[in-house]
Amino acid sequence: MSWIRRLFAGRRLNAELHAELRFHVDRLADDLMARGMAPEDARREATLRFGGETQIAEDCRDVRGTARVESFVQDLRYAIRVLAKTPPVTATAVLAIALAISTNTLIFSGVHALLLKPLPYPVPDRLFMLFGEIHGEDRVAFSTRELQLWQSSQKSFSEFGAFTGNGFTLTGRGEPLALFGVLMTPPAFSALEVPAALGRVIGPSDARPGRDHVVVLSDSLWRDRFGADRTVTGQSIYLNNEPYTVIGVMPPDFAFPERQYRLWVPATLESGVFQKFPDAHFLRPIGRLRPDVSTVQLDIEIKALSKRFAELDPYSQRTVFSKPLAEVSRGPVRRPLLALMAAVGFLLLIACANVASILLARGTARYREFAVRVALGAARFRLVQLLVVESGLLALTGGALGIAIASVGVKLLSTAGASSLPGIETTRINGPVLLFALGISMATGLLFGLAPAVLVARRAVAEGLRQGTRSTGDRSAHRMQSTLVAVEAALSVMLVAGAGLFAHSFIRLSSINPGFRPEHVLTASVAMNEASYPDEGKMLRFTRTVLEEARAIPGVDAVALATHMPFSGQGWGNSYEVEGHPAQPGKSYVAQIRPVSSGFFRALGIAIRQGKPFTEADHAKAPGAAIVNETLARRFWPNETAIGKRIRYDQDWLTIRGVVADIKHARLDQDTDPEIYIPYEQLPPGLMKFLGRSIYVIVHGSLDQAGMASALRRVIHIADPTIAVRELTPLERMITESYAQSRLRTALLVVFSVIALVFAAVGIYGVMSYLVGQRRQEIGVRLALGASRGSVIQMVIARALTVSTLGVIAGLITAAALARTVRGLLFGVADYDPLAFTFAAGALIAVAVAATLAPALRAARTDPLTSLRVE
């Protein structure tokens, strides 16, 4: 019979064994009787000759080889019984573990999806992007001219190309759909080395004038809009009102550069917009490093090339640097996620401390039981095994529950974090995450189980069956309990302080004045495609119509148009010149250029500091006008008015008409750049057709949002039914979305610190109850000797406070030290923000006192007579 079968046949095998041995003894007795011995003597002699049956039976069982497992199973069943006997305690422990493991699993699943999962390209660490840095603004894109220079000269990359994102409107397949796509040069696509799932990817023959109206679809777009039709290749679709042929579909887990980009078209550098504006910077280079080239060699070549090109092109006086592709998408989320991981790690430790103290208290109460076991011959190892099995059972039960809770949490996190953590929607409880959860469950079990187990076993062996519960050995258990309280207090205060830091920073951030009035402002993003709007005449007709009709909506008070809306994530940096203030040789001034309509400052409530805003009279034939912001004005004309001075960013000099207040444009926590506002209609024709196609229609009014939204949509639809409105968002929401990540972080940390405080409360309550229970006799003596009940309460609370305060101090010091690592995530608060730290300390002390109150009152109510009675 195999080992496994022997394992499960234990009972039957034991019965057979007994029968077998009995048979032998009986036969021996029979034989002896046959030889003439008296029955009783025969029996006795037979048993003697046979040997100790119990010992022999045990030896036979040992031979079976299943002893280890059987003892384990026995301990398991016993542990289940013991745990089931005290449901509230067991439930508390399981719940604590479940909460800790669920939060850890949740954050880890995010970490896995966003940081650990390999990028969907083969050998992704050989993919690099190039960025330019100019005047402190990094991540600047390349111009077509620059890219072509680099393409012809570089040697480090085996494939080197570029891409740029673009908005597209898909028509002809149901409702017009506004979406984002990517223009890619063929080498950029081949650098990724991912083949199409259906059809083919963009190849060198596609990036030729006349042959470049082909498109590769993403899997999600193919499923949503094309019904996963396998015959889709060769079909024709309309993008921005121009026909494109579908040539392929990408695999489901492919995304480039991010999941929100749903189709890829060739970028033909020799024609179109690339040749019309060869110096416009919007191309992002990407390449696959040659196998024999190291990153050091790459950097050397980059330095050499950028130096050479800087001499050729005065506008490219900047540094170029490379970044691994993984770093580009993951860099920004790494620090926040790791901070969250640390926070839930603390939570886990606190839970462990809690459960350890529970087990310790229970263990000391079972000394007698263990002493009996020792007396019956149990090895210390068995005692430890029993306790470890108990804690393992708790840990795995808690772990299983935790995973269940986490899977619910993952769904919540995906929806809550969708805007702030790109890619979060791929978070799932998958293999690696489950493995992680299992791993930390077991580690947790070991952590909180081992120390109390060893402690208790050691004491049980030493003490034996000594009477009474008070002895010197108790002190080590008490010391451990107090240490656990201090550790819990320290960890909790760190979490609360951390949450306080982030919350304070968040409040600071969200209360920054953006410089304009976002309330009751609605924006609609629309794009005028080349096919329907080939010249500025048609474009202006559309914009004027929309503005007029929008103004007529009842309840609307101001309308405007802007190409680069604040908090839309877009901007247009350009160099400019100031009459009378030549730039230093080799450098140039850079500002953000903002084409807007005349109602812009009114619609957004931007204060005009000097001069006047634009009017309808500022059309294409009128003299060039500009309005600058305070930052720019202060820079050149700190002591005089800027009105009448002249600047230019293109060919023509513009006269400054007014100065407006600074506004926040990209993020609330960034300083304002110099800005030059120009009338939208005065954009030079070439630039208008390039930059002016994508506009935001802005309305400010007293209607409710929904009413205004549908009215605005109607206006746009009437002006042109084929245009899709890409987004219709209240400006307030655009601002809050800009710090959505901070909000999510803060919310999570606050939840974690609340859980930590609850853990701390439960833990302190438990330990104090236990200690009070242990010292009943002492308390009884005190009361009998005349101490007041109040002094007893004081004594108990003082004890708890001392330990907690020690923990709090240790925790705050550690927190201050650790705060340095998250400084980059905080805004406007110092590392050791006194407000956050004081609040954390106060919260914890309050919790400690509150948790100790009940046990203290119970202690004071001790009846001296009953407590002094000998047990």
């Binding site: 019979m1 080992w3 022997r6 057979e16 064994l17 029968a19 077998e20 041995l21 048979f23 032998h24 009986d26 036969r27 021996l28 029979d30 000759r49 046979f50 040997g51 100790g52 049956e53 022999i56 030896d59 036979c60 040992d62 031979v63 079976r64 080889g65």
Partner: protein, 97 residues
Amino acid sequence: MLILKAVALGAMHGYAISQRLQQISRDVLQVQQGSLYPALHKLENKGWLAAEWGESETGRQAKFYRLTKKGRKQLDAESANWERLAGAVSAIMRMSE
């Protein structure tokens, strides 16, 4: 090895094996009779003996052990080793005379 040899001739229950061993060794090997059983079980686990419950001569149920093919091979190997060892020992013993 002794047990395997004892069982080689036919299936036996534990008591019979113990009797046979005592008989053959002419009572030279005196051990507690019960200590046979852990050894029997070990041999059974190793697959050298196969066991079956059956009716004994006295009519009671007993567990019978018989040699398996593997067991026979093991017995042959062990006896060969034993012969070799015994031969070597006696050769050495003869040498010193």
